[in-house]
Symmetry: C2
């Protein structure tokens, strides 16, 4: 049993109430390990943290250009979005460009992540469809890739069962994941993700290495390097699409632009590229907590490593050490990164 | 730093994806430790797991009888409820018996815990008030206690600031908590709970001891013993009130009646009385996860220790080892208690 360090703690009344253990790998594009906390060799299901890698074939294949996908649409292919109206609308627009409709999506439906979006839908008497699934943009991107792969065949017929590992479309997606992570996905643990596509277990340091490559292009074949740069720029140009109102990824990239590409995954996985530093980051929180543990840890890493002005440093500080308030708005504690995490060397 | 054992694991693709560490204390009414896993001496904020202890003065004082509180209303004083219409209505009825209205509650407002209740309110154009706060029954119980304590004074005036530790009402509540846990609350860490009342840190084994006393009455003063029995019976008679639709506490007590009194608290705290075994149980999940970690661990403890027929054992088994399904309803993994937890000795 691994015994990873405590990366994040929740304080109440001045004492630690709850603790989040985890592992952190920071690696450069050559594969050199910059920071290792905990067991970075353990293979973890990469989940939604690697959506940008799964979107590479869409761009490399030329399908994105053929269909004229916008920055918003490309950003949505990398997203775990809130299911806000703009997210659902943009997914629908991508499907329309491919000549199909919501019925083509195999991700399943769920109510939006954003509570206020749920209430607004309920107040209008609406129910969710696959467009509201947080993965609908990734799946719409798969559908667009499929429109290039189907050739003369009927697209709906070609797409049927695309979430299965052995489908030609999913083979392309998995091949990109394998190429960039450098991990043999045919001989690793495989699970089924929330949206029904396969998710592969990849050692944490290899995920960090993959994101260093995504940030710099180094070590990637030219088509992947160009595609990664295009996707990163699309997300920097349209950060609302990658998550949504109030979300960490959106807030950070709205503020820091192309200096950070970060992406949350389910079960406490978080990956980021820090292009200016030539580094990739991968975090796995042992207990699977996303919102409070992963984000706080990632904020600490960004604060330690990324070039920031004073205002930006203050902003990131509010994400790595934040007030916990109760139903009356009273501050009852703090949520903060521990000293195990990298710290900014005050200049 | 404590290094508690893994009590619950989430599996995907046959491998452990996430882990929940924690501590478990099972203690009898004499204070003898039956089971100890992890650091059971560490003081943890008891949060909402001890609402039954905080309701003892309401019953012991005679206020519950004077106001004619029903089983439903007494069960609600012990509740972290879903905010369903019946919960809000019952809280309102308690306030009316005391001669005040929602304005007397100092717990703050939040949308119901139950998603479908949120959507139904939104569809009707409603917004939440303090009656929907999961703690509204506890607070309505405080108000009813206040009606006995206020004497000839104006009740609203007497109640003002009742959530503060030094308010005469809260002193009564804290005194009951101290009497039953046997812990000196004047010299322990204190925080502010979600509903603004103080929450005290109590060693885990003392919480288990307190619940053994609640289950048997042994070691309690007569007034507390009678009040504890009345509250346990009220919850067994009206288990919907203590939580609500689909919730673990409600489902378990609907099925097992007075054989189990269990109560979730925030941040991964869970307490239970097992009266037939003369045991009390207290769990703290390190990472603060309630719904999946605490409940699975508590189900394993109940399955190991409580007298169950085959159907009941099967039912409890579905709570200690359960399928994780995705948005398409496909089973993608399991959530299960680890072998660190007590196991049923097959007869």
């Amino acid at each position: 049993m691994t015994n990873n360090p405590v990366l994040v703690e929740a304080l109440r009344g001045g004492v630690a109430e709850s603790l989040h253990r985890g592992a952190l790998a920071i690696v450069d594009a050559d594969g050199a390990v910059h920071t290792a906390l905990g067991d970075i060799e353990r293979a973890v299901f990469a989940r939604s943290a690697v959506k940008v890698l799964q979107a590479l074939p869409l761009v490399e294949s030329g399908a994105a250009d053929t269909l004229g996908l916008s920055d918003e649409e490309l950003a949505l292919t990398c997203a775990s979005h809130n299911g806000e109206p703009a997210h659902a609308r943009t997914s629908a627009a991508m499907l329309a460009k491919a000549g199909v409709d919501t019925q083509a999506l195999e991700c399943g439906a769920h109510w939006p992540y954003l509570d206020s979006a749920v209430r607004e839908m309920a107040s209008r008497g609406e129910v969710p469809c696959a467009l509201h699934n947080n993965c609908s943009g990734k799946h719409a991107g798969f559908v667009c890739l499929g429109s290039a792969m189907a050739g003369g065949r009927d697209l709906r017929g070609f797409l049927s069962g695309y979430v299965q590992a052995e489908h030609p479309l999913m083979r392309e997606v998995t091949a990109a994941l394998q190429a960039v992570t450098g991990h043999d996905l045919a001989h690793t643990a495989v699970g089924t993700d929330g949206c029904s596509i396969p998710t592969y277990a990849v050692p944490l340091y290899k995920l960090a290495h993959a994101f260093a490559r995504v940030g710099s292009g180094a070590g990637l074949r030219p088509g992947h390097a160009r595609a990664a740069q295009r996707l990163r720029r699309a997300v920097a140009a349209a950060p609302f699409m990658v998550a949504g109102s109030g979300r960490f990824d959106t807030r950070v990239m709205e503020r820091l632009g192309e200096r950070v590409f970060c992406k949350v995954g389910a079960e406490g996985v978080y990956c980021a590229a820090l292009p200016e530093q030539g580094l990739g980051v991968a975090i796995k929180i042992d207990d699977g907590n996303n919102a409070r543990a992963c984000e706080v840890a990632m904020a600490a890493v960004i604060g330690a490593l990324v070039r920031l002005d004073d205002d930006e440093r203050s902003f990131i500080g509010t994400l790595s050490d934040l007030a916990l308030t109760n139903w009356n708005g009273i501050e009852v504690g703090r949520l903060r990164a521990t000293t195990a995490l990298p710290r900014h060397a005050a200049g």
